[in-house]
């Protein structure tokens, strides 16, 4: 062995953890600084997104074909296209401010709340979209903290949804305070099992979790297809599960059309619990220690196998909650494509949020607003929703490579704090 032995230092590890904890974020006045890079990354990604939108818009291309005759026209059409798209994005994600104010006035005068609810709908939809992101983002972030790359959140989300929906429709006659927790627990448990299998394989045989979680994803998709074809299909044989009993609903907070439900606050609470667990408990400390320096952790007596399995199981449980949240709070049944890539997007979220629960919540809100607005951008400004995915991809690249952002905006290097998350295949 050519490398020299590192001296185990738990002190160093705990110092390192202190720095990355909430304290550094708030107390040491680093809040702005640590948020600066992600904000600039998102900003730059939005600009690149604008360029892509302009270049692929037929109107803009047509205008630039005649640029020699009408240069101002070409510029204004380009600007107009981008502005319309991002205006639609904003209105789609937060709602139209003027309309909201008018609706509040109407409600003051007439007591009619319908219009206000209608005006608040885009905002609430964005929160609804952000909810599974928070759960799934926490799942990936927890894995990262433990030095594990869980690409399997999508599959864990599917099995979590399957288990929750099964408990939701097959049992009846239970009061809500028993039925709902039971359904949530089932979703967590299924996700935990789905995550623990790759964890166990990694710990026992060294098989890399990236490949195994991807395999588990495909198995989960096939399982869902199979169950929806027969065993869990509705009596009329459509590939949809029966509707869950109302006692398993995550209750709504406001009347329709606002779809916001308790799940959003459950997600915020879960983020707080994950923070407490990772930074205030021994088990959480062990997980972070294995993630930061597995060799030191082993010297310090941490059971690597058990910790690896635990990390993956908890990560899977969080992703399972994302699935449970979708079926219990929104759809009330399970359809074939009930997740639209939440599991994969959550990787971006964890990276963007620096694998910190607070960061994950904030970046989930950002993604929720982006995706909430994207639908309107498509219908009003005719820009395909996939532009959001491009922006997400660019954000990951920039967040992963802060040097590029620093070079663009000529920022000084404050402190090198990039941590190596994944160490190839062998470790």
């Amino acid at each position: 062995m050519s490398e020299k032995l590192e001296t185990p230092s738990t002190d160093e590890a705990s110092n390192e953890m202190e720095r990355t904890g909430l304290r550094r974020l708030l107390v040491r006045g680093g809040a702005l600084r640590s948020a600066l890079l992600p904000i600039l990354a998102v900003f730059t990604a939005l600009i690149i997104g604008a360029v892509i939108m302009a270049v692929s818009s037929p109107d803009v291309i047509a205008a630039w074909r005649q640029v020699s005759q009408n240069p101002r026209g070409a510029l204004s059409i380009t600007w107009g296209t981008i502005r319309d798209a991002y205006m639609a994005l904003f209105e789609g994600s937060f709602g139209n401010p003027a309309r909201i104010i008018r609706a509040i006035d109407t409600m003051r005068e007439t007591g009619e709340s319908r219009e206000l609810l209608e005006a608040l709908r885009p905002f609430s939809e964005s929160l609804v979209i952000a909810t599974p992101y928070i759960f799934a983002g926490l799942a990936v972030a927890l894995g990262f903290r433990g030095g594990l790359f869980n690409i399997g959140a999508e599959g864990q989300l599917f099995v979590g949804g399957l288990a929750s929906v099964y408990i939701g429709y097959s049992i009846s006659g239970l009061p809500r305070y028993v039925h709902l927790p039971l359904a949530l627990l089932a979703g967590m448990l299924a996700g935990a099992i789905w995550g623990a299998i790759p964890g166990l394989l990694k710990a026992r045989t060294g098989a890399h979790e990236v490949i195994n979680t991807i395999m588990m994803n495909y198995i989960a998709f096939r399982l869902t297809d199979h169950l929806l074809q027969g065993p869990m299909a509705r009596p009329d044989r459509l590939p949809i599960t029966p509707e869950i009993k109302p006692s398993a609903y995550l209750p709504s907070l406001l009347p329709r059309p606002v779809r916001l439900h308790v799940g959003f606050f459950l997600a915020l609470a879960t983020a707080a619990v994950v923070y407490w667990f990772l930074w205030k408990t021994t088990r959480g400390f062990e997980i972070r220690m294995v993630g930061a320096n597995p060799r030191a952790a082993r010297y310090a007596g941490v059971h690597i196998i058990a910790t690896t399995v635990l990390t993956m199981a908890l990560s899977g449980a969080l992703a399972g909650l994302a699935g449970a949240n979708q079926v219990l709070g929104l759809d009330h049944r399970l359809v074939r494509a009930f997740s639209t890539g939440y599991g994969f997007d959550s990787i971006a979220l964890a990276l963007l949020g620096n694998s910190h629960p607070l960061g994950v919540v904030l970046s989930s809100l950002l993604f929720g607003f982006l995706r909430g607005g994207a639908a309107r951008m498509q219908s009003v400004a005719n820009v395909p929703v996939e532009i959001i995915r491009i922006i997400q991809g660019i954000v990951i690249v920039f967040v992963a490579a802060p040097a590029i952002i620093r070079a663009i905006y000529r920022l000084r290097v404050v402190r090198e704090e990039e941590t190596l998350l994944v160490r190839g295949w062998g470790s």
Partner: protein, 419 residues
């Protein structure tokens, strides 16, 4: 660094687990499968009807029950030997036993019926091709010490650009070149991020996948759907029969009447092997992947070697994508690579970062991919979606069983910092 050290006792326990599993499999083959198969025969048809041309070959007809007993006895012997004495080449035996188990399953599924075996082999190879190319792509990158998880994304972009290039130029060859170009462009991004900016390579690869997924879906909606003529590369690349040889029974339709891309794959496999193990350049690549500092000291340009390897990796991934779109489907569909890039990485690990082994791994995936539809024709009574899990389960089992000996290049995934 192997954290979970496989100790002497661990190895012994593994021997016991494997031996008992083999015996259980043998019992299943001997006692459960032969039920109600007395007097039935399994027919494996070897005649090929591909492309309207019949190449005759005699059928292979075997008695179902007796064959199952024979196969079961083989597995039982392996299990007994494993428990009593242990094999030197545990992994090889594991692969062989799994193979015998699959053969037994096929014999059982074909009881009283006929299975077009040649057709199954041909379709396995066809489906294995993009996976094998992805695995080769991974080998180039990783042998130089750069983990490339983004192959899936490079394939997707390659599939997209090849369709556009082929549609515009009306030439499939230009299309293939366009696909290669698409893969290379993303590889440049991956190279700059992971070599110059020393970004965590797995993260960079993930970013590339998400970017590729978004970019191709967006451009399909925003451009291809408006100008459908850009998504019409014409009929898929045609098979190119090799004179005389293609009429050989079984082997002819399998090896000598295939798409030029498949011939390219064979050539690439051979070239890669020679390049890696018999040339100065290959030695340098491997040195850079194993110990970049030492290589640097000896005057090898680590960065340049890695860049070249990653670009080759991107080119092959692009070719793989082109094969999936203009080579098979004849158009671009959203997310059409469907995890083939990841399966390629699994095949690469299975093959211990060697071209031949990776190809074998890819063939296994291709086989499982094709058996789903063939077994659906036989109506074995197992839901098709559950059969569809087989390639993924096989990957996990094989990785778990084999990986103990699989060894990644030592510097795989580590950015190199010049001092």
């Amino acid at each position: 660094m192997q954290l979970v050290a496989i100790s002497k006792e661990g190895r012994d326990r593994r021997d016991i687990v494997l031996g008992v599993s083999y015996l259980a499999l043998a019992a299943f083959i001997v006692f459960i499968l032969p039920r109600a198969t007395t007097g039935l025969k399994s027919t494996f048809a070897l005649t090929s009807y591909r492309g309207g041309v019949t190449i005759k070959a005699p059928d292979l007809v075997i008695p179902t029950a007796a064959s199952l007993f024979a196969l079961g006895a083989l597995v039982a012997f392996a299990g007994g030997w494993q428990l009593a004495k242990g094999f030197k080449r545990v992994n090889l035996v594991l692969v062989l036993v799994v193979g015998v188990g699959i053969a037994a399953f096929l014999v059982w599924a074909t009881r009283g019926k006929s299975l077009n075996f040649t057709g199954m082999l041909v379709s396995s190879l066809v489906r294995a091709t993009p996976i094998a190319l992805a695995a080769l792509s991974g080998i180039y990158s990783e042998r130089s010490g750069v983990v490339n998880i983004g192959i899936e994304g490079m394939m997707l972009v390659g599939a997209f650009t090849s369709v556009v290039f082929a549609s515009v130029s009306d030439s499939l060859l230009v299309g293939v070149l366009g696909g290669i170009l698409g893969g290379v462009i993303l590889a440049v991004l991956h190279g700059v991020l992971s070599i110059r900016y020393k970004v965590d390579q797995v993260v960079s690869g993930t970013g590339i996948i998400i970017l590729a997924l978004g970019l191709t879906s967006y451009l399909q909606r925003a451009v291809l759907n408006l100008y459908p003529e850009l998504n019409q590369p014409g009929p898929a690349i045609r098979a190119l029969p090799i004179p005389v040889l293609w009429k050989t029974p079984v082997i002819g339709p399998l090896l000598f009447n295939q798409s030029p891309v498949i011939y390219t794959l064979f050539v690439l496999l051979a070239v890669t092997h020679v390049l890696l193990y018999n040339t100065r350049w290959g030695l340098r690549v491997r040195a850079v992947g194993e110990h970049p500092r030492a290589a640097d000291t000896l005057g090898i340009n680590v960065f340049k070697t890695r860049y070249v390897s990653v670009l080759i990796s991107g080119a092959i991934a692009g070719l793989s994508g082109a094969y999936m779109s203009i080579g098979a489907a004849g158009r671009f569909n959203e997310g059409m690579t469907a995890g083939k890039g990841f399966l390629g990485l699994a095949a690469m690990i299975f093959g211990n970062w060697n071209p031949a082994g990776a190809f074998l791994g890819a063939l296994i995936f291709g086989f499982f991919d094709s058996w789903q539809e063939k077994l659906a024709i036989l109506q074995v009574g197992i839901p098709i979606d559950l059969l569809g899990m087989a390639p993924y389960l096989a990957t996990m089992i094989v990785l778990a069983g084999v990986v103990g000996r699989a060894r990644a290049p030592a510097a795989d995934g580590q950015p190199y910092e010049k001092q």
